[in-house]
């Protein structure tokens, strides 16, 4: 209580001091006139009072100037106007003198006051912008959003109109400023979620306190884009400059909260990326674990299928059968891993490729399985390049050829074709096998769906995933000759001749 009362006392003193100076000044001037008139008979010295009033008006404004002019008139009347020693006012001349003094007081003080107001506003603006500048510099220096927010809260609390200023995130976690109670945090969360300010608003860049009812008490809540400002405003009258400053500080807090949210989101994205990498690492380690025993099995079984191994023909046949099963197991593991990789969203290494090249790769891979089948390839020589991951696209073609081999009659033909359409290449693999029933057409690309017990039900599902990952589509239909599987791939945007090749060829 002590310091507060002293503060009020000094404020009163400060307010009364100009009046004391006005009266004192009038007394001093009166004394000076008295001394001068006593020494020599000089008239018109009352003009000295004018000087005093002018100065008072310019220095302190109307109140002290009027007080000074009244004091001057009374003193002059008392000491110098006959009858000396009385306050009697006689004649219009004296009255005029008083009126002139008062008029001068009023006019000068008015002029001075408006000038002082302009100056004060300029000074306040300069102070505001300096404070904001210093805060912004400090904020830029701190990389941590939390400490920058603390700076903002501290600056806000230095304002006279603010008793308390704190910042919380949208999920009711206090970020900076004096501790908020759990109730206040709950209220803050509600205010943020509903986008409703309580007890305060910002209008035309100025903070305005609003009347509130109910539980909020005198705490005000102002939701921002990515958080909330919680404050208690002083009940007394606040200067507009301060309220403007507070609004600017809230703006800064808003920016900082936004920065915090962006940083959090970036961090979360990094987390997802890491989990993708982890998934890829697990898949690759799993594939190693699954494939190694199969590799040993196949190496051992195939070693025993040669006559030199000394086994009876029957036993060798058994070994060959077992190897075939091991190879099938291997194929299933490969397909399963490929499918889970695709589902995990493994990145595609897309580049311009010639579809003929891709088909050529698949044909070589399956050379040993082609047997008696006649494969007709109808790919125009000038087919534009496609933008694909070579290995994945190769998998699609291989799987479709394998599927065709499975269904085509023993020496039946297989046709592989492609045609350029608007913005895409449509490619197909057709065989002369039996038509697919209408009911089955819908399911051929489903995972684990197979028309034969020997199939894994994964080959066509992989095709669908790969094609869709490239932004294309795949479908099955029955043609006159037999079932046809068609897929689309995006065209590559490449120049006809690569610049480097042209340079080197010259």
């Amino acid at each position: 209580m002590g310091p507060a009362r002293r503060l009020v006392g000094t404020k009163m003193m400060r307010r009364l001091a100009p009046y004391a100076v006005a009266v004192g000044g009038a007394i001093v001037v009166t004394g000076a006139i008295g001394v001068v008139t006593a020494a020599a008979s000089v008239s018109g010295l009352s003009a000295l009072y004018l000087l005093l009033v002018l100065w008072l008006g310019a220095r302190w404004g109307r109140g002290p100037a009027v007080a000074g002019s009244v004091a001057a008139f009374l003193l002059y009347d008392f000491f110098f106007v006959p009858p000396v020693g009385t306050f009697t006012v006689r004649g219009p001349a004296e009255l005029l003198e008083l009126i002139v003094l008062l008029a001068v007081a009023l006019v000068t003080s008015q002029l001075a006051a408006s000038q002082r107001r302009a100056q004060a506003t300029a000074q306040a603006l300069a102070k505001d912008s300096r404070a904001l500048y210093e805060l912004a510099t400090a904020m830029l220096r701190t990389h941590e959003v939390a400490s920058a927010l603390t700076l903002v809260c501290d600056s806000a609390q230095r304002l006279e109109c603010v008793e308390r200023f704190a910042v919380a995130s949208g999920d009711a976690t206090q970020l900076a400023g004096p501790s908020l109670t759990p109730d206040e945090l709950r209220q803050a969360a509600w205010s943020y979620e509903n986008g409703k300010a309580i007890g305060v608003a910002i209008k035309d860049g100025v903070v305005t306190a609003m009347k509130t009812r109910g539980a909020a008490g005198n705490t005000a809540y102002l939701p921002l884009a990515s958080g909330i400002a919680v404050m208690t405003l002083s009940a007394k009258h606040a200067e507009e400059g301060e309220l403007r400053m507070l609004a600017a500080l809230i703006g800064l807090a808003d920016l900082l909260l936004d920065r915090r949210r962006a940083a959090l989101e970036a961090e979360r994205a990094r987390g997802f990326e890491a989990s993708d990498r982890l998934k890829a690492a697990i898949l690759s380690s799993l594939s190693h674990e699954l494939k190694s025993p199969i590799a040993s099995l196949r190496a051992g079984l195939t070693a025993l299928t040669v006559p030199q191994a000394g086994l009876a023909p029957e036993q060798r046949e058994l070994m060959t059968d077992m190897d075939r099963q091991a190879a099938r197991l291997d194929r299933m593991v490969t397909d399963l891993l490929a499918l889970s990789r695709l589902e995990a969203g493994v990145e595609l290494d897309k580049e311009p490729h010639s579809l003929a090249d891709v088909v050529g790769g698949s044909m070589r891979e399956l050379r040993s399985q082609l047997g008696e089948h006649e494969v007709v390839i109808k790919i125009p020589e000038d087919l534009p390049a496609v933008e694909v991951d070579e290995l994945q696209a190769g998998r699609v073609v291989s799987n479709l050829i394998e599927n065709a081999l499975e269904w085509a009659p023993a020496s039946g033909g297989i046709e592989i074709g492609a045609v350029a359409l608007d913005g895409r290449v449509e490619a197909w693999v057709e065989n002369e096998g039996p038509a697919i029933t209408t009911a089955d057409l819908e399911h051929v690309f489903d995972t684990f769906w197979t028309r034969r017990r020997t199939g894994t039900g994964l080959g066509l599902a992989i095709c669908k995933r790969v094609v869709e990952a490239h932004g294309g589509s795949i479908w099955a239909e029955n043609r006159r000759r037999g079932p046809r599987f068609t897929f689309t791939l995006p065209l590559a945007r490449v120049p006809a001749t690569p610049p480097v090749a042209r340079r080197a060829t010259n």
């Binding site: 051992g300 091991a326 490729h353």
Partner: protein, 213 residues
């Protein structure tokens, strides 16, 4: 796996020695001087690539890299580090034997210093820089010839895009795989080779090209 391979290869009349680590492999290769080394990339201790690098200066043996589901990057890395071929596990003994025979055949061809390399009907006369198909001369641009020559010198072996770009264009072109694809397409056109069913230059998906031996 090691025992199975040793047994399987012995039945095909190969003299086989098997070791468990890269260090042992380097020592064994220096002393015993094998014709072919099968190198598993997943080795304990010194890894496959380090072993390959250690082997290369001391041995002239052909190296076939064996690996479980290698990424295409690993294949390229192995080839560029001096491997002659790669086989993906699991594989059958027959397939492996065929690959071993192929690298042995190539190895036998090289010292002969034959100035004419043949691949089916394709003939490349290195001394006179002439290329012909079925005896008919084919006119190639210098870049096309250089690329074909490089593949021919390594006939039967997959050559990575990186190596082709470095050898034919120079270091600055490495990474621009579209160059090799474009030039190979041009060569195929002139050799009247069908890219979808090539007889001469074969596409090694994700790796590069190979001239059929």
């Amino acid at each position: 796996m090691r025992r199975a391979l040793r047994a399987g290869l012995k039945y095909h009349d190969f003299d086989v020695r098997a070791v468990g680590t890269g260090e042992e492999a380097v020592r064994e290769a220096a002393g015993w001087r094998p014709d072919v080394i099968l190198l598993d990339l997943g080795l304990p201790g010194m890894d496959g690539f380090a072993t390959l690098r250690a082997l290369r200066p001391t041995t002239r043996a052909a190296v076939i890299v064996v690996s479980v589901m290698p990424g295409e990057k690993d294949k390229v890395r192995a080839l560029d580090a001096g491997a002659d071929d790669y086989v993906v596990k699991p594989f059958g003994t027959k397939e492996l034997v065929a690959r071993i025979r192929a690298v042995l055949r190539r190895q036998a061809d090289v010292p002969a210093g034959e100035p004419i390399i043949r691949s089916g009907n394709l003939e490349i006369d290195l001394a006179r820089r002439l290329v012909s198909v079925c005896g008919e001369a084919v006119r190639l641009t210098p870049t096309e010839y250089e690329l074909l020559r490089y593949l021919a010198l390594h006939a039967g072996k997959p050559v990575s895009h990186t190596t082709l770009l470095r050898q034919v264009w120079g270091e600055y072109a490495v990474g621009d795989k579209y160059n090799t694809r474009y030039v190979v397409a041009q060569i195929r056109k002139k050799l009247r080779d069908d890219p979808a069913n090539p007889r001469y230059i074969v596409n090694e998906p994700g790796v590069g090209y190979r001239l059929e031996a």
